[in-house]
């Protein structure tokens, strides 16, 4: 498993369109990809392939997310997803 922190670069945060694109991107990899928002007291996790869970993450512009990728293509997955999230 690989993980990395990333700051959301999208102007509107992870809103509908960004979330949809993230799901489509994540679907290209075999690894499981999880986003964790830890700025609140209770960390919130989201499956990067579930649009509903990403939206419920309510990650705003400038907030920090932890991205975890686990699987045969975890390096590439982590790289691409973080690249996308940082905008």
């Amino acid at each position: 498993m690989k993980e990395r922190e990333v700051v959301i670069g999208h102007r509107l945060g992870l809103h509908a369109r960004a979330a949809a694109q993230l799901v489509q991107l994540s679907a290209k990899f075999r690894s499981t990809i999880v986003l964790v928002r830890a700025d609140d007291a209770k960390p919130v996790e989201a499956d990067a392939r579930s649009i509903l869970s990403i939206l419920l993450l309510a990650a705003r512009h400038g907030s920090t997310l932890q991205v975890r990728a686990d699987g045969s293509d975890e390096d590439e997955a982590l790289e691409k997803v973080c690249e996308y999230l940082s905008g």
């Binding site: 809103h15 509908a16 509903l52 869970s53 939206l55 419920l56 705003r60």
Partner: protein
């Protein structure tokens, strides 16, 4: 989990008492019902759900293609979001799991999962994101719609004696379900005048509308629906159920073979009994005429008057009443002037059985009373109308009412408005005071109507709307028999028509007692009409008179009832 008894009140929309299991209606647009599955139904139900997901996906893809052609990729990402929801584990997989693990139908599973998600959305701080629940809502509707379009399993095969529970139930749905075991209907919205209520009455399905909050009713929960009082009792206790049992039976739907026949009704020994119908709404007249009733013995005008919570203006009342009289052909129609009682939540603040009711209300709200009277007289040229004054307790009230009637007529004379000057004016005997003094009122009225529902409540000091004393409400109480006997003896020498129009006249055994006491004219709800007609034709007045004489000296209500049932039911 066993729920405890809860009472939810609403308004009377269609009469009758029934028991059944709640089937929850979900989503007003694509009405559907929630219920448990048998284990062999689980697999097909999961397939049914997956098919509706596939179908939704195909529809959305088609839409996306069209959108791209027309307006470029800009707006088609919205469809992407919908499509992604349809493959979202958080949504689709959880619904499938629920169907499988909890053995519930797809609609119910969709409702549960989407409700959880909606809640999560509502907790978000971000207003824009909160609005995204709209996408989910849209998907839910699409899925429900496609579930229906695929196969109407949920609609066509209701699993038990169903009482439909929902915020809204469209009339078309009720009609589609008519051949099913739908035994009752309760909704949060709607009024007695809604099309669903009219449909329920014509299908003879008891209904309660405008109920407070139905969200706590579990699918499959057993309940009593009292369409006569406008309430439902969820998870009734054994005691409550016992109390209701005899009435549930009498309120059951009449099989078609027991339809009334038009011929005059007479007892075995040839005594003519006049049978009329009680109605709450003008739109019931047509069915009553078709059913062969001889008269509308009681039209409770407040139901129509307070529809939508507002009083009508005079012109529309004239139109409505004229229509009622025309539809009734020359059959007499007894218009009971407005009675606001505890059964009708129609007038805010008026809910005391011992307060401003019936004529008292009219005398305090003379504008309303005069408007109604003017409308009644103006409509009277279209048929045979009678005016009945409710809840009278003193001759003074009667005097006051007669003065107002005379005044209204003078006004019409002055304006040269045509009306029937021979419209009889009668009094309702439904308070102990009126029962004791009915002979003293005789010179002031043209006819009498005996309202046993209220009379019993006031005589036995039992609030009809109070569950805790309901078991004490008993028409076979010797006090009631003696009271009715006294009223009959007081009025016998006075040659003016008397009709009994309470529930007592609608249940064959108690109706038989009325005949034994001497009464010859009964008015009952259209649903009760066939069974009362059948009872009358099976009894002999000579026997009933002898029976009544014995009953008057019996001590206990229970013994009276047993005796009567044995005598009457043996004949049926």
């Amino acid at each position: 989990m066993k729920s405890s008894e809860r009472i939810i009140r609403g308004v009377v929309a269609a009469p009758g008492i029934t028991t059944g299991h709640a089937v929850r209606a979900f989503d007003p647009t694509f009405i559907s019902f929630n219920f448990k599955l048998r284990s062999d139904q689980v697999r097909p139900e999961m397939d049914r759900f997956r098919e509706s997901v596939d179908k939704s996906r195909r529809q959305l893809r088609r839409m996306q293609v069209q959108l791209k052609k027309r307006s470029g990729p800009e707006s088609s990402f919205l469809i992407d979001a919908h499509l992604l929801i349809l493959q979202d584990k958080l949504f689709v997989d959880r619904i499938v799991e629920k169907i499988e693990n909890e053995q519930i139908n797809a609609e119910w599973a969709i409702q549960q999962v989407s409700d959880e998600l909606f809640e999560a959305y509502d907790r978000l701080q971000d207003e824009y994101l909160r609005e995204r629940r709209g996408d989910l809502d849209d998907i839910v509707r699409r899925l429900l719609h496609n579930l229906h379009a695929n196969e109407q399993l949920s609609l066509k095969k209701l699993p038990y004696d169903a009482i439909l529970v929902g915020r809204v139930i469209p009339p078309s749905t009720l009609f589609e379900l008519r051949s099913q075991r739908v035994v009752g209907l309760v909704t949060e919205t709607g009024s007695p005048l809604s099309h669903t209520a009219i449909m329920a009455r014509s299908l003879e399905i008891p209904a309660v509308m405008g109920a407070e909050d139905l969200s706590g009713i579990e699918p499959g929960e057993f309940m009593i629906l009292d369409g006569d009082k406008g309430m439902v009792i969820c998870s009734p206790s054994k005691e409550t159920l016992e109390e209701y049992k005899p009435r549930v039976r009498s309120g059951r739907r009449i099989p078609t073979r027991a339809r009334a026949t038009a011929a005059p009704v007479a007892t075995v020994d040839g005594v003519r009994i006049s049978l009329g119908a009680n109605i709450n709404f003008g739109d019931e007249v047509k069915a009553v005429v078709a059913n062969g009733c001889e008269s509308i013995g009681l039209y409770r005008t407040e139901f129509d008057f307070f529809r939508d919570g507002h009083e009508h203006d005079e012109e529309s009342l004239v139109a409505d009443y004229s229509n009622v009289l025309k539809t009734a052909k020359r059959m007499p129609v007894t218009f009971r002037t407005i009675d606001v009682g505890i059964d009708q939540k129609s007038w805010d603040g008026v809910n005391s059985n011992l307060g401003v009711r019936g004529l008292r209300f009219c005398l305090e709200n003379q504008d309303v009373f005069r408007t109604q009277l003017r409308a009644l007289y103006r409509a009277s040229i279209h048929g045979t109308a009678r005016i009945l004054l409710p809840f009278v307790s003193t001759v003074d009230d009667l005097d006051a009412a007669r003065d107002i009637i005379a005044d209204v007529r003078k006004e019409l004379d002055r304006k040269r408005v045509r009306y029937d000057s021979s419209v009889p004016v009668g009094v309702m005997i439904e308070t102990p005071a009126a029962a004791q003094t009915c002979d003293l009122m005789a010179s002031l009225v043209d006819f009498f109507c005996l309202g046993t529902n209220d009379l019993i409540q006031y005589y036995l000091v039992v609030d009809r709307s109070d569950q805790t004393v309901m078991h004490l409400y008993n028409p076979f109480h010797p006090a009631i028999l003696r009271c009715l006997n006294q009223v009959y003896r007081l009025l016998e020498p006075i040659d003016k028509p008397i009709t009994v129009c309470g529930e007592m006249a609608a249940d064959p055994p108690s109706a038989a007692v009325l005949l034994g006491l001497g009464f010859r004219s009964l008015s009952v709800s259209p649903t009760a009409f066939p069974r009362i007609q059948q009872m009358v034709r099976s009894v002999s007045i000579a026997e009933l008179r002898a029976l009544a004489n014995q009953l008057l000296n019996m001590q206990k209500p229970k013994d009276v009832e047993e005796r009567v049932r044995a005598a009457v039911e043996a004949k049926q």
